[in-house]
């Protein structure tokens, strides 16, 4: 673990909170640590997560976003979700499971060549809405779909 040693030798990081985390083995390349939206991923509510991510929780409902998800998820540990949108000037797509302990599941920073399409599998703790929030040209739009969960998938 050469990065750990180097960090301790530098001394500057070692005394800080990051240094403690690094020393404790929660080693993360600094670039990723800076870019990962920690506050958003620690928010306990959809509104707080959106505020942390986008500066606002105001999102207009949009028919140009499709949330494809099962009506009933047999296994909450693996719920297939597909978000597609025809909205232009795509900056980001965020996926929220409203009743999860951490509602924000994932957020995607879209480059100029990315199409409005994300397909993935998420964990859901209980029946809740799955919401997609799209940042199009700096404005937020959302669509949601309720997914019933028979066996929760968040752990334990």
């Amino acid at each position: 673990m050469t990065i750990k040693r180097r960090t301790f030798m530098k001394g500057t990081l070692a005394g800080s909170a990051i240094g403690v985390a690094v020393g404790a083995g929660l080693l993360t390349p600094r670039a990723v640590l800076a870019a990962w939206p920690k506050q958003a991923f620690e928010s306990k509510s959809t509104a707080d997560a959106l505020k942390a991510l986008h500066g606002s929780a105001e999102a207009a409902s949009s028919g140009d976003i499709t949330v494809k998800a099962p009506d009933i998820a047999e296994n909450g540990a693996v719920v297939p979700i597909t978000i597609s949108t025809t909205l232009g000037d795509l900056k980001s797509i965020s996926i929220i499971a409203e009743k999860n302990p951490v509602p924000l599941v994932a957020t995607y920073d879209m480059g100029s060549t990315a199409e409005g399409y994300i397909s993935m599998r998420i964990k859901m703790g209980k029946t809740s809405n799955v919401m997609a929030v799209v940042n199009s040209g700096g404005k937020l739009f959302e669509a949601k779909k309720e997914v019933k969960v028979t066996i929760g998938g968040c752990g334990g």
Partner: protein, 104 residues
């Protein structure tokens, strides 16, 4: 071939559909080991980058709420058969992996 990423990329009408399956435990940090009763520490992918022709197409920021052995499919414009597509990830422990594939 990277140990834990399977990727396929297909082009149709100039749009490349990338499908990736990543091997990773994606532990939230909230699950308890049934035998010891102790919490299993958080161990999940935080960032995934998808590149096309060497440029970032999109960057994903993930939490432990993404399912174990994550599947991800995205679409990228302006693609041709033979282009190179890349997937790279970094997790909260600083572990990482990456792979490249040609668009078919």
């Amino acid at each position: 071939m990277a140990k834990g990423i399977k990727v396929r990329a297909k082009e149709k009408g100039g749009v490349v559909t990338v499908k990736a399956l990543i091997s990773h435990p994606m532990e939230t940090g909230g699950r308890k080991d049934k035998k010891t009763g102790k919490k299993i520490p958080a161990h999940f992918i935080q960032e995934v980058k998808v590149t096309h022709k060497g440029k970032d197409a999109l960057t994903a920021h993930w939490s432990g709420g993404v399912s174990k052995n994550p599947y991800l499919s995205v679409k990228v414009k302006d693609g041709k058969k033979g282009d190179t597509v890349g997937i790279a990830w970094v997790d909260n422990k600083g572990e990482s992996d990456s792979v490249e594939a040609k668009v078919k």
